[in-house]
């Protein structure tokens, strides 16, 4: 009986440790561009798309390039592995996940946070009167 309990406890503890380690490892921290560049870690950066700067898509290599200004007001060139994300133009903020390579932020994933189209707002009501 005691052996069973010990084995059981060991299995549970190992499971929890594996879970916790993976949890912490795969939780990419939020930071601004400056911190991400300094620490050279994989990071999530929140910011907005800088419309005035050129935005381009390289069809050959499937890279989408744009400029993004983070919350600390620093603008950085972002290169995304992939095409332009859905709802990119209407996003009120975007979150880029990736790391710095030679002064550019290489993103593997971009989340777009959309404001209103489907949330209902007074402007839209007035338009549909």
């Amino acid at each position: 009986m005691n052996v069973k309990v010990v084995v059981g406890v060991v299995v549970v503890v190992v499971g929890i440790v594996i879970g916790a380690v993976n949890f912490l490892e795969s939780n990419v921290e939020y930071m601004d561009f400056a911190t991400a560049e300094r620490t050279n870690k994989r990071a999530q950066v929140k910011g907005v798309w800088v419309q005035e700067q050129p935005t381009s898509f390289d069809a050959e290599n499937v890279k989408f390039t744009f400029y993004m200004r983070d919350d600390s007001d620093r603008t950085v060139k972002v290169v995304l592995d992939g095409a332009k994300p859905n709802n990119f133009e209407i996003a009120e903020s975007i979150v880029a996940k990736g790391r710095f390579v030679d002064g550019e932020f290489h993103a593997t994933e971009i989340l777009t946070k959309c404001p209103s189209k489907y949330d209902g707002d007074a402007e839209a009501v007035k338009k549909s009167l």
Binding site: G15, I18, G19, N22, F23, E25, S26, N27, V28, E29, Y30, Q44, Q51, E52, F57, A59, E60, N61, V62, G82, A83, K84, N86, N87, F88, E89, I90, S93, V95, L111, K113, C114, K117, Y118, D119, G120, A122, A124, V125, K126, S128, L129
Partner: protein, 786 residues
Amino acid sequence: MLLGQVGALVIKLAFLAALAAAFCYYQVHRTGSTRWLPFSRGGYHLATLSLMTSSALFLYLILTHQFQYTYIWNYSSTDLPLSLLLSTFYAGQEGSFMLWALFTSLIGVFLMQYSTENDYEPQVMSVYSLILGFLLLMLVVKNPFTFIWETFPNDLIQTGPVPAGITNYFMLDTAKNIWARYPVEGKGLNPLLQNYWMVIHPPILFIGFSAMAVPYAHAVAGLMKRDYNSWIRVATPWSVFGAMVLGTGIILGGYWAYETLGWGGFWGWDPVENSSLVPWLLCVASIHTTLTQRKSGAFVKTNFVLSILTFVTVLYSTFLTRSGVLGDTSVHSFVDPGMWVYWLLLACIALFGTIGFGLLFFRVKEMPKVPVEHSFVSREFALFLGAFALSFMALFVIIGTSSPIITTILKGKASAVEIMYYVRTNLPLGIVVTLLSGLGQLLWWHHSKAGSLLKSLMWPTILSVLLTGLILLMGWEEIEILLFMFCSAFSLFANLQVGYGIYRGNPKFVGGSIAHIGIAVMCLGFITSERYDDKATVTLEKNKPVPALGYTLTYTGYRPLERDRFAFDIEVVRGNLKKKVAPSMHFSEQSTLRHPDLINFLSKDFYVSPVSIEQAAGPKEETLILQKGEERPIGGFNVKFREFDFNAFERGAMLEGRSFVINVNLDILEGKRKSALILTMTNSGEGPVFTPASYTAANGSVYEFNLVRILPDREDRLKSRVELSVKMPEEPSAPKRDETLVVEASIKPMINLVWVGTVTFIVGFALTILRRAEEAKVHAKKWRQE
């Protein structure tokens, strides 16, 4: 009285009736007298009828486009076809809660009959009515019949006489002349949701969610009645039903993501997907542990815990995806429903968690203690380990999904885990579960003798080694995937062997084996299609064949589909085979949605998802947005937007609705040279027509300027802007390109296994329901005779 007010009132009535039913049923249980029984049943039926009435009203308002209701304005529009119009019923929070409540109440009608036969009515139905009551409370708080002027009072409510010509208004107060305008068109359904999956997938999920309340009600009823064993027999058909429906819903959701949303795979570990996976895993675990209790009487407490947890995780998942706590950490956008729903959902979790676990805590001392008598080589132990592994999976998934909450508490900033987390934690457990789902079937109850076990292990092991080897011919894999592959194959063959044996004995008992076979086949499909897929990004210039992945692709041009959707026709050729795929893109006002297309072969899918469309690349074009007085560099010179030329005569023409002209005056500054350029917009009522102008630079290159649009600023005219396009001079060195489509093509080997497995697993579950329902009936008869 307006229909919506009736609807809201009827919901309140349903809520009160459900609470009354819960109370009266509880009285029946407490006093043991049947005096309260008619009130209980009447209350429950009243709640169901009221909810059906309000749902019918809601549906009527949707079908007749009553945009004076916020919900209907928000999710529907007049251009939707009937099926999609129906689906707007549950496109938003209020409506989906209503659908959930409706299914719960309807299932309850059958449950009432069923539990009467099994002598469980007062207890099961009191708990179940309380659950229904809480779902209805959600609707009382978040009323689906809210009027649009209640949502936007400042914008819509007006005082004074109604101007002539306005018909879309509603008089709020005739004496004081207070009235409200309402929209004549709705905002429409999110284009991502506009397909038939939206019509079938959510209802199936909600039936599954509703069904998960039944085992919970039985567990609590068992505790109330101090009946720690036979509740299982009564509850099992419902658990299996719930697991079957929810499982089907989960896979359909996966297929939706794969086929239309273009996620590239069927599972993205998204919070919305995870939130239905967790209760499913726990429910399946409980189905297995109850088997042991039937056999040996062990796992009494475990079965209570798992059945209670199944429902509590349904509530918790709802909390995660509905309360806005996940914020902006997922691709799904989670609407913030306001504090009320947040706290109400939390209260629900606390209440039903406390009822279940609290009662368990008080009863645990008097529960029969069954000494563990089985050996390690027994079916009991395999079932225990399997259920344990499934519960651990559920735990890991729920922790991962809750990551934004956990990180907010730990670090003060919400962040989600990456997909890698789910794979790393679930893969080892998946290996264990698939292995046990085969091994457990070969083991005997209580204890297996080594000789007979080895004999039965022989064929499944040999065959799964062969199958694994066969798959490995396609390429080597890392050790964990290899093990997963082997264990899935082992489960398949072991269950085929056992299932065949059972089928020859009693075909009715074969459900379990078939369900396992289905899951094993599905797992094999996951591995081959996800790990052995071949991907390539292909750039397809119009009418130029390009070889990719062993096929030859030719983009032949695009054609418009309904609304703003365009299909891109691609010819796929390989030897004699000639097929067409047409992935499409939806260019809505502000964004692009991409829909893949695929060719389904027996042994694989050829999957094509669009990435982007590039216009014919002649000379390069750049766009400029300029405010009045602003100056910007382009090419080798600067462009300055001097002013609009929009004189009084033209303005008058515009006001009278005649054709008018606006000139945009630009200055080009190149070195010391300054020249003026005028771009013209003529508006003749059929949309604007732009007249371009060109500029020849000092080096002789020609730049063509055109007006794209005028962006007026209504508050400050000086801030109005213009958008220009500038066609750059042709560079002789630059390659000329026709219209070009970029796609991502992939081959998903043996993906049909996933769908075959799904169907098999549904059949297995259905057979099990029949078997367990029959068993419960026999049990009920026995009870009546006693």
